[in-house]
């Protein structure tokens, strides 16, 4: 499975090196992230099949899926949010690394830790606010326009996925803070900056898949570059 390994340390059961606690947490959270992301992937497959049923049903049998748009919209929360922490672990949320890639040592780890801390504040606020959004639909009622599906299950996905992201960010913050204190140690539980060349290599693997060999080994080695 691509990137199902953790960012640095793949096996939560062998915490024999530096920072064992951090590695343990990293590993367990990674397991949840992997299953959340798998669920997101399956929900995409489900959407595609549902849409095929909708088109065939409408064109051939004159029986479109009742409330198709309502169904699609409510299930979108699954693939829009469940992969968010997984993507953060693998450094998949885009950013501009032009300046960062010129930094090293304490300066780099400070910049990373500081940015992570700010994002932690944002996500904490959003967990609070999105839970409140869910709570309103739960307490006061809310339903979709066409077939009146309740909206609270879909809204509940957001604070859950963001909470997992928050955990991931805490782990990454700890990882950066550890390096800030001891810049000579090997990085644990943090995504490392890819050079543009490594980034290109990653894109090639994505496009050509297993033709380039076992992909999980590849991304493993990519993330272990030090």
């Amino acid at each position: 499975m691509p990137g199902s390994s953790t960012s640095i340390h793949p096996d939560p059961h062998t915490p024999h090196q530096d920072a064992p606690t951090l590695r343990l947490w990293d590993g367990w959270v990674a397991k949840i992230e992997d299953s959340f992301n798998a669920l997101a992937g399956l929900s995409i497959l489900f959407l595609i099949l549902l849409a095929v049923v909708q088109v065939v049903g409408r064109a051939v049998f004159n029986t479109p899926v009742p409330g198709f748009i309502d169904f699609v919209e409510q299930s979108m929360a699954l693939f829009a949010f469940l992969g968010i922490a997984y993507t953060q672990r693998l450094g998949g949320h885009i950013r501009m690394e032009l300046i960062l890639s010129g930094l090293s040592g304490r300066v780099l780890w400070f910049a990373e830790a500081f940015a992570t801390l700010l994002v932690l504040v944002l996500i904490a606020a959003l967990i609070n606010g999105s839970f409140d959004h869910f709570l309103r639909s739960w307490n006061l009622g809310d339903s979709t326009i066409d077939i009146r599906l309740p909206t609270w299950p879909s809204k509940l996905v957001v604070p859950i996925a963001l909470s997992l992201l928050w955990l991931r960010l805490i782990i990454q913050f700890a990882g950066y803070a550890r390096l800030l204190l001891a810049p000579d140690k090997a990085p644990v539980a943090v995504p490392l900056i890819e050079s543009i060349k490594e980034h290109a290599q990653h894109e090639i693997e994505d496009a050509l898949g297993d033709e380039t060999g076992d992909i999980s080994n590849k991304s493993q080695s990519r993330e272990n570059v030090q």
Binding site: R58, N62, T63, P64, P66, G67, F68, I69, D70, H133, R136, L140, G141, D142, S143, T144, I145, D146, R148, P150, T151
Partner: protein, 312 residues
């Protein structure tokens, strides 16, 4: 301005928002600019479906929404969206809206959102624009794929039509391509979404229902207004209604002219057929609604009776 209210609206300025424009203009004039009502179009402050959430949060002071966008957020006012109420004109619609909005049931319902209704956005009955053979009788709707949401969709289902979900902006293409054979809107929306350009016929008197779209204010913001400001706002409502209705009448003329220009066939059903349609789609849906309200603890019987009594 001493006080500024933000209003959350979606879409562009159109007939459907003219009363809010008028309200802002009148209030500004009456308070010598000390009370500004600022209109934000294009869902800049909130998506239409979440305007009640924004009001409840207190992010803006005023907003417009439609009851059927989220029936379970505002069950009490969906009484005004029941199929085949037989509301003849906008004046009657306004009268009913005012009566219903003034009930304790509605005040309590909206009060949960910290919202108070100022006025409605009265809309005429929905009718269908379609392509292909024009329906001669209601039987011809059997198996017809129609774009009709919520209550109107439920009503159409009782005569064998197949409600098919298509977003409003995709409706033109959906008719053009046969994805749906007909779509129901109020006239201003038929014009906005260009369905008339894709269709060949229009039902003049099917009148299966409409949507109810109130303009609300945040209760705290309303309470915080000075007496002068509040009076200026409340006293402007009837004039805003009058402006809206006059403007909608102009739009209806434009719609009629457009139908003629495009050579669209007008389909008019006879009284017997409409009575049969109403019997099939009206009563069962009303009963379902009443049972639903009972389950929710909303006095549906009273609300429904209020509407019926004032229609006679």
């Amino acid at each position: 301005a001493d006080v500024t209210w933000n209003v959350s609206l979606w879409g562009k300025r159109r007939a459907f928002t003219e009363h809010v424009e008028k309200l802002a203009e009148l209030v500004n004039a009456k308070t010598n600019g000390t009370f500004e009502i600022k209109l934000h179009y294009g869902a800049a402050l909130s998506k239409s479906r979440e305007n009640l959430d924004g009001i409840s949060i207190g992010a803006f002071e005023m907003a417009q929404f439609c009851a059927s966008y989220h029936a379970d957020k505002n069950p009490s006012i969906t009484v005004l969206e029941l199929p085949f109420l037989g509301v003849p004109d906008l004046e009657t619609q306004i009268k009913l809206d005012k009566l219903v909005y003034a009930t304790d049931a509605v005040k309590k319902d909206l009060g949960r959102w910290n919202a108070e209704i100022l006025m409605s956005s009265p809309m005429p009955q929905y009718n269908f624009v379609g392509r292909g053979d024009a329906p001669k009788s209601l039987k011809d709707f059997e198996g017809m794929r129609v774009r009709a949401l919520g209550g109107v969709g439920a009503a159409m289902k009782t005569i064998g039509a197949v409600p098919t979900t298509v977003t409003a902006s995709e409706t033109y293409q959906a008719i053009e391509s046969g994805t749906v054979q007909a779509a129901s809107f109020a006239p201003h929306a038929h014009l906005a979404f260009k369905t008339v350009e894709a269709g060949k016929w229009y039902t003049t008197n099917l009148n299966p229902g409409t949507v109810n779209c109130p303009v609300v204010a945040n209760t705290d913001a309303l309470a915080a207004l000075s007496d002068d400001h509040k009076k200026a706002l409340m006293d402007s409502i009837d004039e805003a209604y009058a402006h809206y209705v006059a403007n909608y009448a102009k739009l209806n003329e434009k719609f009629a002219a457009e139908l003629d220009k495009l050579g669209i066939e007008k389909v008019t059903f006879n009284a017997d057929e409409l009575a049969a349609f109403k019997a099939a789609a009206g009563k069962p849906n009303w009963d379902k609604w009443l049972a639903d309200m009972k389950a929710k603890g909303v006095p549906g019987d009273d609300l429904f009776k209020l509407v019926q009594d004032n229609l006679k």
